[in-house]
């Protein structure tokens, strides 16, 4: 065991002593942190004049929403929102540019966002007009209307009856009434995660592609293969290094992203339901739980990507070719949009690492039916990533050992 750990230590040394690794990692962390708060750069203009900076706007909205935090979303809050928005004059142009909006309606913009999704309004002036037409009965049946909207969405998919039933069953587990909370930090963290995941993917790709192939380009293959542990323990040490490094870098960048975003946007909202951000989601989870689940998907997706990188690295004997192939495999699927009209193709496409990183895999309304088992897309993705990675590792072993 000690010799195995010693080999792992040296594999880490080989990667971390390269100046390029440190530079890439530092750039990755900086990019993650900067892009996390990038929406706060710049100004909000009205009629060519600066109204406020995005940072000031975020702070103002945060205070307004914190003011409503802890309140149940019910008829009273909905009526207050409608009342506040009714003061905004219906005029041409952006209603948000009016003084009335800034003074009366803006504090309720978070609730308006939920109303517009549940009652299927458009979040523009017309949406406001439509909202003003909502009846008392509509407001009293807020959760029923939301549920029927969710179920209608489920019915409109091409899922099998079993899958639809499972999705509906899950949607009914969503705890109501919702307690309103400021969730700006989590909302930003979730929308930033895709970029973070891609960054992690590329950092791991660059660091891991030479793990096996680099031994050939370094001219170390002869020494390794002729040594006692050169055809067994060292391969296992490299595999462990590749996987553990991926987890380490993923956790590091996710934490960097989380801490930066939450420090700037605010730490509130961990226990708020995900429906405050995705009102029609069927997942009965809180913001904090979704953030954790999404992080797990990103980590598992990257483990799969790193396993693929290691297979190629052991086979191709050139880190550069590995890098080119893996870059293509990462980038190209990101630009391919697969429709959900043929569901099995859609679900299959989401098993490609870069596609796994989409938030829709966590909040989606789909269920997937296997004989005797109906699961959610995120369960399939995590299970597939784990099983496929495990299945690829013996291939790495065989490719590198075969001389």
């Amino acid at each position: 065991m000690s010799s195995y750990l010693e080999l792992v230590k040296f594999e880490y040394k080989k990667i971390l002593r390269k100046r390029s690794t440190i530079i890439i990692l530092v750039i990755g962390i900086l990019l993650t942190a900067i892009s996390g708060v990038s929406p706060l750069f710049g100004y909000y203009y009205v009629d060519g004049k600066i109204l406020e900076s995005h940072y000031e706007g975020m702070k103002k909205d945060r205070e307004y929403r914190r003011g409503l935090s802890g309140r149940e979303i019910n008829r009273d809050l909905l009526s207050e929102t409608i009342e506040a928005y009714s003061r905004v004059p219906v005029a041409n142009g952006r209603y948000s540019a009016t003084e009335e909006y800034q003074e009366y309606a803006r504090p309720y913009s978070g609730v308006f966002y939920i109303i517009s999704h549940v009652y299927n309004l458009n979040s523009n002036t017309n949406g406001v007009t439509e909202m003003l037409l909502l009846t008392e009965e509509n407001l009293n049946k807020f959760y029923d209307i939301r549920q029927s909207m969710v179920e209608r969405n489920i019915e409109n998919t091409t899922m099998s009856p079993e899958e639809k039933a499972k999705s509906k069953e899950l949607s009914r587990k969503v705890k109501t009434p919702f307690i309103y909370s400021y969730t700006g930090g989590y909302t930003r963290f979730l929308s930033q995660m895709y970029v973070t995941a891609i960054l992690i993917c590329f950092i791991c790709l660059i660091c891991i592609s030479p793990l096996f192939a680099g031994e050939y380009t370094n001219g170390m293959d002869g020494l390794i293969f002729s040594s006692k542990y050169g055809k067994n323990k060292v391969i296992r040490a490299k595999l462990f290094t590749g996987i553990s490094l991926t987890i380490l870098f993923s956790v590091l960048l996710i934490i960097a992203s989380y801490v930066t975003i939450m420090t700037v946007f605010g730490w509130d909202g961990k226990d708020a339901p995900i429906q405050l951000q995705y009102p029609l989601s069927i997942i009965p989870l809180t913001m904090g739980q979704v953030a954790l689940l999404y992080s797990a998907i990103v980590i598992f997706g990257n483990i799969l990507s790193s396993s693929l990188t290691m297979v190629l690295s052991a086979k191709l004997k050139s880190p550069y070719i590995v890098l080119v192939i893996m870059t293509a495999l990462t980038i190209i699927p990101a630009f391919v949009n697969v429709s959900d009209s043929v569901l099995w193709i859609y679900h299959l496409s989401n098993l490609i690492p870069v596609k796994m990183f989409d938030i829709n895999n966590v909040i989606s309304i789909f269920s997937i039916n296997f004989p005797g088992l109906t699961i959610q897309p995120y369960v399939l993705i995590i299970s597939f990533a784990a099983v496929a990675s495990m299945a690829l590792l013996p291939l790495v072993y065989r490719n590198f050992k075969k001389t």
Binding site: R17, G222, L223, F225, S226, S227, Y229, K231
Partner: protein
């Protein structure tokens, strides 16, 4: 102690690099001599388990080359090998020691001892990327000795060393050959001449001669001649005989050559050395090709 090589063959597409070589080696230093492309490195890589043979087998004391126990007894210095440029010499040896299954405290001890042996103690903590070719070669020799191997395979071990270092390593290798099998390949004929107890001459993937120096040289004993001739005769001799040495003198040309019988009137038979044999075999090959 016995290394058995049995009908070992390696074929790369249409080229047979090693052609059914069978050998049995015991303790001692074996010098593998042959020109570029004769198959020396391919043979050595197969002996070390780095390259899979097309057919045939290699066994050390009955243990197959594919087994961990075989590699445990092996020390190998490849011909062209690299390093991790960011590693220090000391770290590099510790890494190789861990690959060879040596525990940490023993590895530290052995690394210090071997760095001393190859005169790299003062640069032990320097990064390998700052090393000269000769220093890297010395480090390569040190790593091959880390596990006190019973079978030591050295591919061009003296390449890149200065004459003083070469002599030191020749002596070191001679000593190592007392209680283990040392197989070394080189282009430098004098290295083999000085230290190899048995010489293996390789050509076109086959061992064409195997024996002690005297036995091998016996093939051309009485066939090595020296003469000083005019330019016209020199041209004729150069065109028709394997030439070992040419030296222009004031009005004549000095030649050392190999011939079955006296090549010219002034030629005098001289004692043969290994280089004569080498040139005899491999020059002939060149001429055939031409």
């Amino acid at each position: 102690m016995e290394l058995v090589i049995d009908r070992l063959t390696k074929q790369f597409k249409n080229k047979i690099a090693v052609d059914r070589i069978s050998l049995t080696l015991h303790e001692g230093v074996y010098g593998l001599l042959g020109p570029n492309g004769s198959g020396k490195t391919t043979l050595m890589r197969m002996i070390c388990g780095v390259l899979k043979p097309t057919s045939g087998e290699v066994k050390f004391n009955g243990i197959d080359v594919s087994r961990e126990e075989f590699r445990d007894a092996l020390g190998y210095l490849p011909q062209d090998f690299g390093y991790y440029p960011e590693f220090t010499a000391y770290d590099f040896l510790l890494y190789l020691a861990s690959l060879k299954g040596i525990n940490k405290s023993r590895a530290k001890e052995k690394a210090t001892e071997l760095l001393e042996l190859v005169s790299l103690s003062d640069v032990a903590k320097k990064k390998i990327r700052t090393f000269s070719g000769g220093m890297k070669q010395r480090l390569g020799i040190a790593q091959a000795l880390l596990n006190n191997p019973k079978l030591l395979v050295l591919d061009e071990p003296t390449a890149g060393l200065d004459p003083k270092e070469r002599v030191r390593f020749r002596n070191l290798i001679s000593r190592l050959g007392k209680d283990r099998i040392v197989l070394l390949s080189t282009h430098i004929v004098s290295d083999v001449e000085y230290i190899a107890s048995v010489i293996l001459m390789m050509k076109n993937g086959q061992i064409i001669h195997k024996g002690r120096l005297e036995e091998i040289i016996d093939v051309i004993e009485g066939k090595v001649f020296e003469c000083s001739v005019d330019s016209r005769t020199a041209e004729h001799l150069i065109a028709n005989y394997p030439i070992i040495n040419i030296r222009e003198e004031s009005d004549k040309t000095f030649l050392r050559l190999v011939a079955d019988k006296t090549p010219c009137e002034t030629a005098v038979a001289v004692p043969a050395v290994l280089e004569d044999l080498y040139m005899y075999y491999f020059n002939k090959e060149v001429k055939k090709c031409e």
